[in-house]
């Protein structure tokens, strides 16, 4: 253990003298100097002038005791179920085209203000991603399209005009195309079918920026079913991922995280955990959590998978094809042995979009007997339905002028398609093009007309993420602008009187009603399903929420993906292997450009949400930008430092980007995030980064998400100040992270607890200990379960009205997030080269530790921060006058200072400060003013509300009454919060076990946040380093 070194950036690892000097400063820069530099022209005279005026003005103001007259406007007709100040929760579904979550929406006085997980869902119950949490801000986005634009000016115009056009096209035998993102809604799929019946010549094409088209086609070839299997990471003991960031962005990260962590927390009684090996090109969130992580060139992925296939085929006695490539140290051979030993309990996944590669992955999982165990094609998943080839064909059709009308809904190909120029030219040849959008996009600008549709929080709908699992979407606010639902428009065009609400009900009351026997009345079934938000075939609706109930497999008719009217690829596996061997041979010396999705930004559809822009990337800790993550080797060859600028040239791509020298990136790889560089977007997303989509290679009609043979060169003399949040705050050789391997687990924890006991013996208190007559709030965070996804950061921001500070302020180190996730790299300290090439990663969520001997409390001259009788470290904003002594004295550096007035729109364009935007604010939390200190409050507003609910009902307080925003929505369930004085609470049983430690316990500040030792499941012989 002692030889292991933890660091946050290269300069720290290499003991850079300049860095060490800066480290002593504790804060990023001298804040006062920075303040005077704000405009570059402030002077001492300005300061005195302002100072004098403020003094005079405040004296005059104080003398006026006249308080302005306020008014109270009651409802004229109060809705029966709305009570001012009492929140209502409505079950709904979040799906942004790539992430699915069943959610509850907190609505205050008719305004959605917070999205949280729906515990009734067996798919995502217990967690909500950062993107899900942030989507509530999207609703109030000022950039939303408020009325029809383009060819139509009013709704009446649009509908009559459209139906006339469609009719004439249909009668002439023309072609109509509806292009959408994945449609999860079974009723909408049925409706699109009805539309196609009404207008002959209509075809529905699914387009996704990040499709799983390779997996779909591979299963079609192997099983005859074009479907995405449902994965069960919880049932796998050995998990192998090839460039599949399943904890961060791949297919259904919240669901997979929930499954993954079930086998990741060893205890004294059950010292076991699953083993996870990640082979990847870029340091992804999933790779950061893996037990073994190996760099791999994306352009050789197929060859490595082929090699793994062959190793396993030898054991299984199946055909061996040859032509694969081994990883260093014969790693794949060893991996094959591990996998073979865990037959039926292993899972191999690949993020590749090449159907040929995916066929090999299918073959591997088949040989390992994993089908029906850890992945299932009989109960498929519908989360990805797009097939790249079909969209390619559509573009070709449009180019030849065969398409007469095209609709775009829930997709933005003009931005995310690999060949944007080709698409733009093709679209110009379509006489009638309409985009249905919530806000204008690159695609809608190219269309002849754009019609505004409802945000999901204003819509009705349903979703079917997996076979047998359904959830409902219900509106939580009436439409803010003159918008309509896409489905309502379709119904109107089909000429139905019915609205979509009625259509949806009808679908549920007939089709789905028939799949259950629990209710005799369709009305009752509908009401109960709407209340619960989810309906799972085979699981009773009336029973209380129990996420652990296993759903019986349901045999359903599997026809999810629009059929291609073509025979499936029937080439033999041997032919596939030959193609893969040729395609992925890889040339040494060629540089790969690897495109990846960031956890916060995804495919870029939510680029205008400032919360997501400001959310630090889990790995690079950078905000508000994309950049070139270059490997250590390339950095060395080109003499690059973080903050330098490089030019990347490839086919269809030529951009300059700032550099981050990123440990873990494969030696001959540069990685760039997609989702940035939006051109038609609101002010938060405008001019942020560069669009990397056009760089992606298209091979055999599949978007592969990487390019090989790119040229990378340093732009001399140019630097770019990236807004990175973790440049300061290093461990400085303190035991902040505690980590061990599964083999040493029992021994290590015994030693650790002994060490802690000794510490405790020597604890002497100068101050009397606080009395805890009632509650004693505390938190425990499991470093083994925490994947570092950052959902808590955005959930906290949404709950606590935390302002966005913008790129410039982050550069000054003034971020305001109450919660941060520290990322530390670690490796053998003796080998700095290896350490920078492929280190291990640990994440540690860090927020106010609510110390019982809080160092901040002793130094506040005005008692603005004091201890509560329930163990909270309280911050009274109205008392604070901003000395910042507390921040200085805090050993965890978790206090945040409001440097500027973030509520003033002219200073900060990003915050929700206009009349519509302010509706997102949580009315139970003060909007802090300039010049006060703030920090995590343990969501005291939720504690107060929970206690009051228990008191009003006259009952004991339950754990479920008092969850903080972060603990409630943590997909991994890594954060447990509660009252340690209550023997029945979850935390009291969990707070002090063999893995527990406290950060900086030796300071004896008695923090209230316990951490659990990180454990890695390493094979003893250390295969990774060989």
């Amino acid at each position: 253990m002692k030889s292991k070194k933890y660091w946050t950036q290269k300069e720290d690892l290499l003991d850079d003298p300049k860095f060490r000097e800066q480290q002593q400063k504790e804060f990023a820069e001298d804040p006062f100097e920075a303040m005077l530099q704000d405009n570059g022209n402030s002077s001492r005279r300005d300061f005195l002038r302002v100072f004098g005026f403020t003094l005079g003005a405040s004296a005059v103001l104080a003398a006026c005791s006249k308080t302005p007259v306020k008014y109270a406007l009651p409802y004229t007709n109060k809705p029966a179920d709305v009570n001012p100040s009492v929140p209502n929760y409505y079950a709904s579904t979040f799906y942004d085209g790539s992430e699915y979550s069943s959610v509850l929406v907190k609505v205050r006085e008719g305004r959605p203000i917070f999205v949280e997980t729906n515990p009734s869902s067996s798919v995502t119950g217990g967690g909500l991603s950062a993107r899900g949490a942030a989507s509530v801000l999207d609703l109030y986005d000022g950039f939303r399209l408020k009325a029809p634009v383009g060819a139509f000016k009013t709704w009446d115009d649009s509908l009559s005009g459209l139906s006339r056009t469609l009719k004439s096209i249909s009668e002439k035998g023309g072609n109509i195309r509806i292009v959408t993102g994945t449609v999860l809604s079974p009723s909408t799929r049925q409706l699109i079918g009805e539309f196609a019946d009404a207008y002959k010549g209509t075809r529905h094409v699914t387009y996704e920026a990040a499709s799983a088209s390779g997996i779909l086609l591979a299963h079609e070839a192997e099983f005859g079913k074009r479907a995405l299997p449902r994965y069960h990471f919880d049932k796998a003991q050995v998990i192998v991922g090839f460039n599949a960031d399943f904890l961060g962005t791949w297919v259904s990260p919240v669901e997979f995280t929930k499954q993954y962590v079930t086998n990741r927390a060893p205890s004294k009684d059950n010292p076991k955990m699953s083993r996870h090996i990640q082979v990847e090109s870029m340091m992804s969130l999933t790779g950061a959590n893996a037990d073994d992580r190996l760099p791999m060139k994306a352009s050789m992925e197929g060859a490595h998978i082929l090699e793994l296939h062959d190793h396993i085929a030898r054991k299984a006695g199946a055909a061996v094809f040859g032509g694969g490539k081994e990883l260093p140290g014969n790693y794949l051979a060893k991996l094959a042995t591990e996998l073979w030993a865990a037959q039926g309990k292993s899972l191999v996944v690949s993020g590749s979009n090449d159907p040929q590669v995916q066929r090999l992955v299918v073959a591997i999982n088949r040989m390992l007997q994993n089908y029906g165990q850890t992945l299932n094609i009989n109960t498929p998943s519908y989360l990805r339905q797009g097939v790249d080839k079909e969209f390619q064909e559509l573009v070709r059709e449009m180019e030849t002028g065969k398409v007469d009308a095209v609709f775009f809904y829930d997709c933005n190909p003009a931005y995310s398609y690999s060949l944007p120029v080709q698409f733009e030219n093709a679209l110009k040849k379509v006489p009638h093009s309409v985009a249905f959008v919530t806000a204008e996009t690159e695609t809608s600008r190219l269309c002849k007309a754009a019609l505004p549709v409802n945000h999901w929080l204003e819509s009705w709908g349903d979703a079917q993420p997996h076979a047998g699992h359904y959830s409902l979407i219900q509106p939580c606010i009436s439409t803010l602008y003159d918008t309509r639902q896409f489905q309502d428009i379709l119904l109107a065009l089909v000429g139905r009187e019915q609205n979509y609400y009625g259509y949806l009900q009808q679908y549920w009351k007939t089709t789905l009603f028939a799949t259950q026997k629990e209710f005799a009345s369709a009305d009752k079934f509908w009401v109960k399903a709407l209340e619960r938000g989810v309906y799972e075939i085979g699981r009773p609706l009336a029973a209380e929420a129990a996420a652990e109930v296993v759903v019986a497999p349901v045999e359903e008719k599997v026809t999810p993906v629009a059929a291609a009217d073509k025979a499936p690829d029937n080439s033999s596996l041997r032919e596939v292997a030959a193609t893969v061997a040729a395609r992925y041979a890889g040339r040494g010396g060629d540089t790969d450009l690897y495109l990846y999705e960031k956890v916060g930004m995804g495919t870029g559809s939510q680029a205008n949400i400032p919360w997501l822009q400001e959310m630090p990337d889990p790995i690079t800790r950078a905000t508000w930008d994309n950049y070139a993550c270059v490997s250590y080797k390339i950095a060395k060859d080109l003499a690059l430092e973080t903050g330098d600028v490089v030019r990347i040239e490839g086919k269809g791509f030529n951009e300059t980007l700032p550099v981050i020298v990123q440990p873990g990136v494969q030696a001959e790889t540069v990685a760039v995030a997609v989702g940035y560089g939006r051109k038609v977007v609101g002010k938060a997303g405008m001019n942020i980064g560069k669009n990397a989509y056009p760089a992606g290679q298209v091979v055999a009609d599949s978007f592969l998400g990487f390019a090989t043979g790119v040229k990378i060169s340093k732009v001399e003399g140019e630097t770019y100040p990236l807004a990175i949040t973790q440049t300061h705050g290093t461990v400085m050789d303190r035991p902040i992270i505690r980590e061990t391997t599964l083999g040493n687990f029992l021994e290590y924890t015994k030693e650790l607890q002994h060490e802690r006991a000794v510490l405790k013996q020597h604890a002497v208190n100068l101050y009397p200990l606080h009395e805890r007559a009632g509650h004693n709030w505390a938190m425990a965070i499991d470093l083994n379960k925490c994947t570092g996804c950052g959902a808590c950061v955005v959930n906290c921001q949404s709950e606590n009205n935390i302002p966005v500070v913008g790129k410039d302020e982050i550069r000054r180190g003034r971020e305001l997030h109450w919660m941060r996730i520290d990322r530390y790299y670690s490796a053998d300290a003796n080998d700095p080269e290896l350490a920078q090439e492929n280190p291990e990663v640990v994440f540690q969520p860090m927020m106010c530790q609510h110390c019982d001997n809080a160092p901040c409390e002793n130094v506040c001259p005005v008692l603005a921060t004091v201890h509560s009788s329930e163990g909270l470290n309280q911050q009274a904003y109205n008392r604070c006058f901003g000395t910042r002594y507390c921040a200085n004295n805090c050993p965890y550096k978790v206090r945040r200072f409001n440097w500027l007035d973030y509520t003033e729109p002219k200073n900060f364009v990003y915050n929700p400060v206009d009349n519509i935007g302010r509706m997102v604010l949580n009315p139970d939390v003060t909007v802090r003013a300039r010049g006060v200190m703030e920090k995590c409050s343990f969501c005291v507003q939720r504690l107060q509300a929970g206690k009051l609910a228990a008191k009003a009902d006259g009952r004991k307080l339950q754990d479920s009454d008092i969850q903080t925003a972060c603990s409630k929505n943590c997909p991994a369930g890594a954060i447990v919060f509660g009252d340690v004085n209550d023997p029945d609470s979850a935390i009291s049983k969990y707070y002090n076990d063999e893995r527990t430690y406290f950060v900086l316990e030796e300071l004896k500040v008695l923090p209230s946040v316990a951490y659990k030792v990180k454990v890695r499941n390493k094979v003893k012989e250390e295969t990774a380093k060989a």
């Binding site: 007559a773 509560s868 909270l872």
Partner: protein
């Protein structure tokens, strides 16, 4: 159903009655609805029919039931259907019927009295304080006059002595000189200056310390609504209109549709005739919100919950809002400063046996209290002075 829920007792029936029926029904007169004395006989003692009617009055009337014709006759008289009360559930409605059946007219003027007692007592204390203040001012005035007289006497004596020493004549002029000299002496000037500065500082401090105090604030409201009439004379339960008071943070200003429950039939008031009520009806018809002037304004940085104080602690509205049932136009009764809040939290005692919530949370404190080791448990003792109780 009946086996699952115990039959509610008559006292509970009374509470439900006060909450839901009392606004329109009395036992001594017709109001928005008919006088209830003798109502059981009118229904021929058939409780099942009454239950069905109360749950859905119009449905009952139109359903061709036993009493449908009579109910239609009543509608002709009152021009309004009773609100459906199915939301109460059968048990609660049955409890109300039992209460009506067992109702006996009380001795005159018994009900409602206790609510005003405390407020009256507090007001009495206020008057005696005023008297004390006036007394003090008079005393100070008297002292000033006496000291002035004394100074003149001393001056006279001194000048007389000096005149005698010098052998001069004691004249009025020398008396005046000597008096002026005394007033010009540094000692007296210093004293005077100190008194004046002290006075100004005292007044200034007093003024500054009261900035933002709004007790007594009584703005003119857009509609001359009288609490004295509604709460005092008609004894309408506060919660009938202020529906949020036990549900959440805000007591809520009643929505206009609640006014219309009665004022769709009552169109004339005793003081202003039809004028003021017409404003309410007009606002409702036009769907406009009435712009009431807000009287009780806590700063945004304070979180105050009515539910905590009314439902959990069981405080009377009058404790903070004063004798509301005597107010023609409402004014702010309490000071609503932090000192005022904190003072109450220090003094108010909690009955730890009252709520099962306390049983588990404050187990030890409760045991000590029940064993007599602690005299009383104040709000402060249970954390009522924590900043984050109100500020977050």
């Amino acid at each position: 159903m009946l086996s699952a829920f115990p039959v509610l007792r008559a006292q509970e029936g009374e509470a439900i009655f006060k909450q839901n029926c009392y606004t329109c029904h009395r036992f001594d007169r017709d109001l928005t609805g008919p006088n209830l004395t003798g109502v059981i006989d009118r229904w021929g003692g058939d409780e099942a029919e009454m239950l069905a009617f109360i749950k859905n009055p119009k449905g009952y009337a139109d359903g061709g039931q036993k009493h449908s014709a009579r109910v239609h006759e009543l509608f002709g008289k009152y021009k309004q259907w009773m609100t459906p009360h199915a939301f109460l559930g059968d048990d609660k409605i049955k409890a109300v019927i039992t209460y009506i059946k067992d109702y006996k007219a009380p001795a005159a003027a018994a009900d409602g009295a206790p609510a005003t007692e405390g407020a009256a007592a507090e007001k009495g204390a206020g008057i005696s304080e005023d008297a004390l203040l006036y007394g003090l001012i008079m005393l100070v005035g008297l002292l000033v006059v006496v000291s002035l007289v004394l100074i003149i006497v001393i001056a006279a004596v001194l000048s007389a002595i000096r005149a005698k020493e010098r052998g001069d004549k004691f004249t009025y002029a020398t008396l005046k000189d000597s008096a002026v000299n005394i007033f010009k002496s540094k000692f007296v000037l210093t004293i005077l200056a100190l008194v004046i500065i002290g006075g100004v500082l005292d007044k200034g401090y007093d003024f500054a310390a009261h900035i933002g105090f709004r007790d007594g604030y009584q703005p003119v409201q857009p509609i001359a609504f009288s609490h004295k009439l509604h709460a005092g004379q008609y004894k309408i339960n506060c919660e009938y209109c202020h529906t949020g008071v036990s549900k959440g943070k805000s007591a809520t200003i009643p929505s206009t549709n609640i006014c219309m429950n009665c004022h769709s039939t009552i169109k004339e008031g005793p003081q202003h005739g039809p004028n003021e009520i017409a404003k309410v009806v007009g606002a409702h018809e036009k769907g406009e919100a009435i712009e009431w002037v807000r009287i009780h304004n806590l700063p945004d940085l304070v979180y105050f919950s009515h539910q905590q104080h009314v439902k959990v602690a069981g405080l009377e509205c009058q404790t903070c809002h004063g004798p509301i049932e005597e107010m023609e136009e409402v004014y702010q009764y309490s000071r609503l400063t932090m000192a005022w809040c904190v003072n109450c939290h220090r003094e108010r005692k909690i009955d730890l046996n009252s709520n099962p919530y306390y049983h588990s949370v404050f187990k030890q404190v409760r045991e000590d209290w029940n064993a007599g080791k602690i005299d009383s448990v104040s709000v402060a003792r249970l954390g009522g002075l924590d900043c984050a109780k109100c500020h977050y």
